[in-house]
C-alpha cells in the first residue's frame, strides 16, 4: 500500500502538482502527517488536505474467492418480467440484480411498459419468491404515465391474488406499490448526470431500492453534442457510477436504449450498400452493459433477442404487451402489430 505513487490518487491536477513539488512521492510520505500540517505545508485548504488523507485511510479493496462469489450471487433475487420466456432467457428468473441490463428497441416495442412492469414486479414479496424491493424510475423522455403504471400494478396484484393461498391477506397493496416507485424526471443530460451523482445519498437512505430504471439513456445524449469524444467520456463515466451502484447496493440497473440507422458502405462492386438498425450511442457504449437485449418485430410477433451476456446463451424469445402489461406470447394476439403498421405506414 505504502509504495503507491501520489500521482495515482484521485486529486485535482493543481493539488497533485503541489504535493509533488513539496516532495511527497508515495503514499508512505503522507501517512505520518495530519490534515492541518499538510494544508500548511503545501498551501491548500484544510478540507482538501483532509480529503487527501481520507483517501489513503479508507477501506481497502479486497478480493473474494469464486465460491464466496457464488454464494453471494445465489442470494440475489432477480426481478421477473412477467413473461416467463423472457425470464428464462435472462437466466431463469428474470432481470439479474447487481448488473446492468440494457433493452434496445425501436419506438412502440414496449420498452417503457417493460420498465413499469419491472417497477411493480420488484415489489413482489419474498414469500412469493420476489425481491420485495422498491424502484427508481428515471424518466428522460416524459414517458412515465402514472395512469398506465397503476393499470399494470392493479393487474399484477390481481394475478398474484389469484395464485395466493391465503385470501384474507393480500400479498400486495395497490397504494403501497404506487408509493414505492420513485419517479424522477430529468430534462437534459446535465440533469441526468447530476442526478446520478447524488443518487448515492438517496440509495443510502432507501436501502430497499432494488431496481433502477433509466428510460431512456439515449434520449438526451442523442442531441446537442458536437464533441463526440466528450459524449463517450460522459457516458462511460455514467456507466461506471451505475456499475458501482449495482454492485454496492445490490440493485438491478435497467437501461432502455433507442435504435439508430447505420449505413454499411461495402466499397466493393459486388456488394450493395446496406442500412441496418442498430442500438444507438455507438460501439463503445455497447461494452458498458453486462447484458444487452434487442427488441424487434418478426412476423407480427414481438421478439426479444439476448445479444450480449457473459454467462448466458444467445437466444430469441417471443413476448407480448397487452392491457395488463408484459406477458408471455399467445398466438391469438396479433392485432397490435397491424395497428402499428397502419400508424407508421410500413
Amino acid at each position: 500500500m505504502s509504495a503507491r505513487l501520489v500521482s495515482s490518487l484521485n486529486l485535482r491536477p493543481s493539488t497533485r502538482t503541489k504535493l509533488q513539488k513539496a516532495g511527497f512521492q508515495t503514499v508512505k510520505d503522507l501517512q505520518e502527517t495530519t490534515p492541518i500540517e499538510l494544508s500548511k505545508e503545501i498551501g491548500i485548504s484544510n478540507n482538501e488536505a483532509l480529503n487527501i488523507l481520507q483517501q489513503i485511510k479508507k477501506n481497502k479493496v479486497t478480493s473474494i474467492s469464486a465460491s464466496e462469489a457464488l454464494q453471494q450471487e445465489r442470494k440475489l433475487c432477480p426481478i421477473s418480467t412477467s413473461c416467463e420466456a423472457m425470464d428464462q432467457m435472462l437466466g431463469g428468473r428474470g432481470v439479474p440484480v447487481g448488473k446492468i441490463t440494457e433493452f434496445c428497441g425501436a419506438p412502440g416495442m414496449g420498452k417503457t411498459q417493460l420498465g413499469m412492469q419491472l417497477c411493480v414486479n420488484v415489489q413482489i414479496p419474498q414469500n412469493l419468491s420476489g425481491p420485495e424491493g422498491e424502484a427508481i424510475f428515471i424518466d428522460t423522455e416524459g414517458s412515465f404515465i402514472a395512469q398506465r403504471a397503476a393499470e399494470i400494478a392493479r393487474a399484477t396484484i390481481n394475478k398474484l391474488n389469484e395464485n395466493s393461498v391465503t385470501e384474507c391477506d393480500p400479498p400486495m397493496n395497490f397504494d403501497i406499490v404506487m408509493s414505492k416507485i420513485y419517479v424522477s424526471k430529468v430534462h437534459n443530460c446535465d440533469e441526468l448526470i447530476a442526478l446520478i451523482k447524488v443518487l448515492d445519498e438517496f440509495l443510502q437512505e432507501h436501502p430497499r431500492v432494488k431496481l433502477l430504471v433509466i428510460d431512456s439513456i439515449a434520449f438526451h445524449f442523442r442531441q446537442q453534442f458536437d464533441d463526440m469524444a466528450l459524449r463517450t467520456r460522459l457516458l462511460n463515466g455514467l456507466a461506471q457510477d451505475l456499475n458501482k451502484f449495482a454492485q454496492s447496493y445490490e440493485l438491478a440497473v435497467v437501461l432502455f436504449n433507442q435504435m439508430t440507422t447505420k449505413f454499411i458502405i461495402s466499397g466493393k462492386y459486388n456488394l450493395k450498400d446496406q442500412a441496418a438498425l442498430v442500438p444507438a450511442l455507438g460501439e463503445s457504449w455497447g461494452h458498458q452493459c453486462t447484458n444487452r437485449i434487442v427488441l424487434y418485430w418478426r412476423n407480427e410477433i414481438r421478439c426479444a433477442q439476448l445479444v450480449k451476456s457473459p454467462s448466458l446463451q444467445e437466444t430469441t424469445v417471443h413476448y407480448q404487451i397487452n392491457s395488463t402489461g408484459v406477458r408471455d406470447y399467445q398466438a391469438d394476439s396479433l392485432n397490435s402489430k397491424r395497428r402499428w403498421e397502419e400508424l407508421y405506414d410500413i
Partner: protein, 285 residues
C-alpha cells in the same frame, strides 16, 4: 523459459496465435467488438489455468461486473474441455476456491488493489496468503476504467494508464505471472488499417498511447458472411453435439493478431463459440 510455464487459453487456435498461450511476464491484450467472446475467452483461460496444476491460482479483477461465479461453475462441470481434470479428481469447491475476484469500479480502486496485491506478494511468508501461486491476472475490462478519463486534453488518464500497466508488468516479471487485459472496441472509419480484413470497421479503444503497452494484442470480430473472401469452410451456424448429446449452435468469430513482440503479426484464425464450448475449426474436423 520452460514451455510448461505458458498458460493455455483453452482454445487451440488462439494458443497457436499466441505462440502457445499466455506467457508469464507478459501483458496480453484481447480486444474486440461487443459479444465476440472476450469475456468467454477470459473465463476459459481462467479455468484452463486452474486445471493445469492443482496449485495454480487466478486473480480476476472485474470492473464491469461481468464475472459470474455460476457461469464458471457450469463451465467447469459441463464443458467437455474439463472432463480430464474432473476425472483426475479436481473438485468444484477446490477449483472455485483458487479463483479470486476483486471488484473495482474505477481506476483508483484498481490502483489501490494492485498495491495491496504487491504487498501480499512481497511478504510471502504471511500465513493464509491467498495470492501465492497466482499465475494469471485478468482485468476485465481495462477500457471501462479508463475511458471516462481519456481525452485529447486530459493527460491524467494517459499517465494513470501507463503507470498501472508498468506496475502490472513489474509484478508479472518479478513473480512470473501472465497478465491478460480485456479491452473494448470503437468504430474506425472507413476501416481499420491494421486488420487483415478490409471490412473490419472497428479498432481497439484507448487510443494511440495504449498501443505501445501490451506485448501481444489480439483482436476479435464477428465473422459475418462475405467477411472473408475465398474461404469456404466457415459455417454460419455450426451445430455441435456435446458429450451429453445436447445440440448447441456455435457462432463463428475471427481472432487476429494485431501486434506482437515475439510472434507473427497478421495471423488469424476462426473460432466457434456457443453454449459451454469454444474451439477452432481444426478441432471440429
Amino acid at each position: 523459459m520452460l514451455q510448461t510455464d505458458v498458460l493455455s487459453t483453452g482454445c487451440y487456435g488462439i494458443d497457436e496465435l499466441l505462440q502457445g498461450g499466455l506467457h508469464p511476464g507478459e501483458v496480453t491484450e484481447i480486444s474486440g467488438e461487443t459479444a465476440t467472446g472476450k469475456t468467454q475467452l477470459a473465463f476459459s483461460a481462467t479455468l484452463t489455468t486452474i486445471c493445469a496444476n492443482k496449485n495454480n491460482k487466478v486473480l480476476f479483477i472485474d470492473t464491469v461486473s461481468t464475472f459470474s461465479a455460476e457461469r464458471i461453475r457450469t463451465l467447469f462441470l459441463e464443458s467437455d474441455r474439463f472432463d480430464h481434470s474432473r476425472c483426475q479428481g479436481m473438485g468444484e469447491e477446490d477449483v472455485m476456491n483458487r479463483i479470486r475476484i476483486a471488484k473495482c469500479f474505477d481506476v483508483y480502486a484498481v490502483m489501490e488493489f494492485i498495491e495491496d496485491l504487491r504487498d501480499h506478494l512481497e511478504n510471502k511468508d504471511k500465513d493464509d496468503n491467498v495470492y501465492t501461486n497466482v499465475k494469471l491476472i485478468i482485468i476485465d475490462s481495462f477500457a471501462a476504467i479508463f475511458s471516462p478519463l481519456l481525452g485529447v486534453t486530459q493527460t491524467q488518464g494517459h499517465s494513470l494508464m501507463i503507470t498501472l500497466t508498468r506496475i502490472l508488468r513489474n509484478l508479472a516479471k518479478e513473480y512470473n505471472i501472465a497478465v491478460l487485459v480485456i479491452n473494448a472496441a470503437i468504430a474506425s472509419n472507413p476501416n481499420n488499417p491494421i486488420s487483415v480484413f478490409s471490412s473490419t470497421k472497428s479498432k481497439p479503444s484507448l487510443g494511440m498511447s495504449w498501443t505501445f503497452m501490451p506485448d501481444v494484442q489480439l483482436y476479435l470480430t464477428h465473422c459475418v458472411e462475405n467477411k472473408i473472401e475465398n474461404e469456404k469452410n466457415i459455417q454460419q451456424n455450426y451445430v455441435y453435439t456435446n458429450r451429453k448429446e445436447i445440440e448447441v449452435i456455435m457462432k463463428p468469430k475471427i481472432c487476429e493478431v494485431h501486434r506482437s513482440r515475439n510472434g507473427q503479426m497478421g495471423k488469424w484464425c476462426i473460432f466457434y463459440m456457443g453454449g459451454n464450448e469454444l474451439f477452432t475449426h481444426d478441432d471440429i474436423i
